[in-house]
Assembly symmetry: C2
DNA sequence: TTGAAAGCGCTAACAT
DNA sequence: ATGTTAGCGCTTTCAA
């Protein structure tokens, strides 16, 4: 149970602690013979570095913190997986925190990560406004990249997708399938993703003369339950439009299910689209047409930005906003494109 | 960017670092006046403890490590959520690692957690045999609890559900619905969950005279894809039995989907059951009958065991195996019970 | 009640 | 090429 220290290794190998350190952290010159002795002794004793002590000394932990709104949302878990993978290549580890969509918990997590001396933080903020103080404060102390969502009025690096361009593709596709009216089902406008997605949706719908009734813009949260509830409400208030555009796949899953439950055929009577392309989106009946986010790419860019920020350190350069273009994945919840009509 | 240290707070408050420490870690006696001065100074400077330094000194981190086979499996993420919640009440944080179902990665994660001086480790081992050395070695150094799955031949605390009892309920229910033949679709027998679940399934099937053809026990992995592939294989090799019993919900999701795709009505022609009760299990068409695992309870017990192990420290008491009884959640993928036949 | 000082395990000057 | 030593920021004796 007693931890083996560098001093014990040094004693056993008959050298100084400095030499052991040099060997084990592969810095500085050591003769082959001594190196062998040291490694031998370390193995015999089952030595393991004390990362804590090393971190205190180096003020570097080779650890990156990540905070996501919900660890049970498959989009975020797959994003986490991508980030962990990208970090692995740099020899860094990930410290993952779940904010439970609560800016207060989020603030605590951020503070705690900072106190742990993580080398940088990747955060997908829970709230477009309320997350600001904590995110900004954290960004002032150490490298921070916002992922997917961002907080209003903060100046930090950001990586995500071009929601407006994505929604343009979605609306075009629905229009090709014959949709002339549509509803939007999203979360409250409490974070940038919904805002952007809605803006993109609305703009393109207008351009294509697709009718969007004001009371057919329904805002709740990113959950299956909300998707189900929204459809019930639409039906109660006068029926469904040609298409239901959802701000994420969880909502779309609930929407699809509710449509079928209420006897509406998807996509024959009503087309449905999601966003994110989580694994389960292909499993529902019918499989969901959705927007695929290039997670690996997003993760790679985030890690790169973090590394860059860590390097320059003192001088805070201008911040980067990297937005990648997502692709539309057409499955069975929308109507097959019949010879796309000419559009301007 | 410069971190505020206890020394700066001490200077500003006009006291010694020892006093500051006493105030901030609320140990030892300090006069009210001095306490106020110190808190004031700390606030002014925006002081935050350096968890690293504290950990080095105390050799306690108030952090628990958790290693799961796959962070994209919703069962594990919801388990993680429960664990994090339970730990929060103890003022501890969670360091989460994904082993990607690979014992080698798992071993690295465990070593890295140990090196980080976590106070304890919760692990759901990736492999029933290959995970042994790393798990055992780690358990020798610090408090460790296995969750859900366990490694063959290790002696550590364990918390999970009674798979055999659960499968008994499943088989009884299917039998009530008229099933007289069944197939089992699981992962390779590389971890305890499948083993136990299969054992429970087989025993009860025998007792009830339900036919299980040897070539209708199909083993792959815990994934939707495998569920789909398994059904294709069954159909190719002579058709489906009355019931398809799956070792987890992901498999069952794939199985259900494949059945429908091949034109088999669920549950009219073939009944399907899952295991875990992940959120998505109620979303498929038809919603899945499955075994609900009491995650919060499992998490709470695990945290309790860890705390206990951390306390006694020196003397390693006997290890606890806590198995909770899960409940069957009947949905639409099995036939409604018509007046249960008398069983012995 | 408060302060001085040692030391947790490690690394990096600096010295040899 | 190797050793000596100071010190990262904190807590905790021990003295006063």
């Amino acid at each position: 149970m007693q931890r083996v220290t560098i001093a014990q290794v040094a004693e056993r190998a008959g050298v100084s602690t400095a030499t052991v350190s040099r060997v084990l952290s592969r810095r500085g010159q050591v003769s082959a013979a001594v190196e062998r002795k040291v490694r031998r002794a370390a193995d015999d004793l089952g030595y393991q570095v004390n990362v804590i002590a090393r971190a205190l000394r180096n003020s570097r932990t080779d650890t990156v913190g990540m905070v996501v709104p919900s660890i049970t949302n498959p989009f975020f878990t797959s994003l986490v997986e991508s980030v962990e993978h990208a970090l692995g290549k740099e020899g860094k580890e990930l410290f993952l925190c779940d904010a439970r969509s609560d800016p207060q918990i989020e603030a605590r997590r951020l503070a705690s990560l900072a106190a742990r001396n993580v080398d940088g933080i990747i955060v997908s903020p829970s709230h477009g406004v309320d997350s600001r103080p904590a995110v900004q404060q954290t960004a002032d102390r150490l490298p921070l990249v916002q992922l997917d969502r961002f907080v209003d009025g903060t100046t930090t690096d950001w990586v995500g997708v071009d929601d407006v361009a994505a929604m343009r593709q979605v609306v075009d596709h629905l229009h090709d399938g014959g949709a002339r009216s549509a509803a939007f089902i999203g979360s409250l406008m409490t974070h940038s993703s919904t805002e952007q997605r809605f803006a993109g949706f609305r703009r393109r719908a207008e351009e294509l003369n697709i009718e969007v009734k004001p009371d057919q813009v329904l805002l709740g949260d990113y959950s299956v339950e909300w998707g189900e509830a929204a459809v019930a409400r639409l039906i109660a208030e006068g029926g469904l439009p040609d298409a239901l555009v959802c701000a994420d796949d969880l909502i779309a899953l609930g929407v699809t299910r509710a449509c079928r439950a209420h006897g509406f055929a998807v996509p024959r009577q009503v087309q449905v689209t999601g966003y994110d392309d989580i694994e389960f989106s292909r499993l529902t009946e019918p499989a969901l047409t959705t927007v695929h986010q290039p997670r690996d790419r997003i993760a790679a860019e985030a890690v790169r930005l973090l590394a860059a920020a860590g390097a320059k350190d003192a001088e805070r350069g201008p911040h980067a906003h990297i937005s990648l273009v997502p692709t539309l994945v057409v499955r069975d919840s929308t109507r097959a494109t019949q010879a796309p009509s000419d559009r301007i």
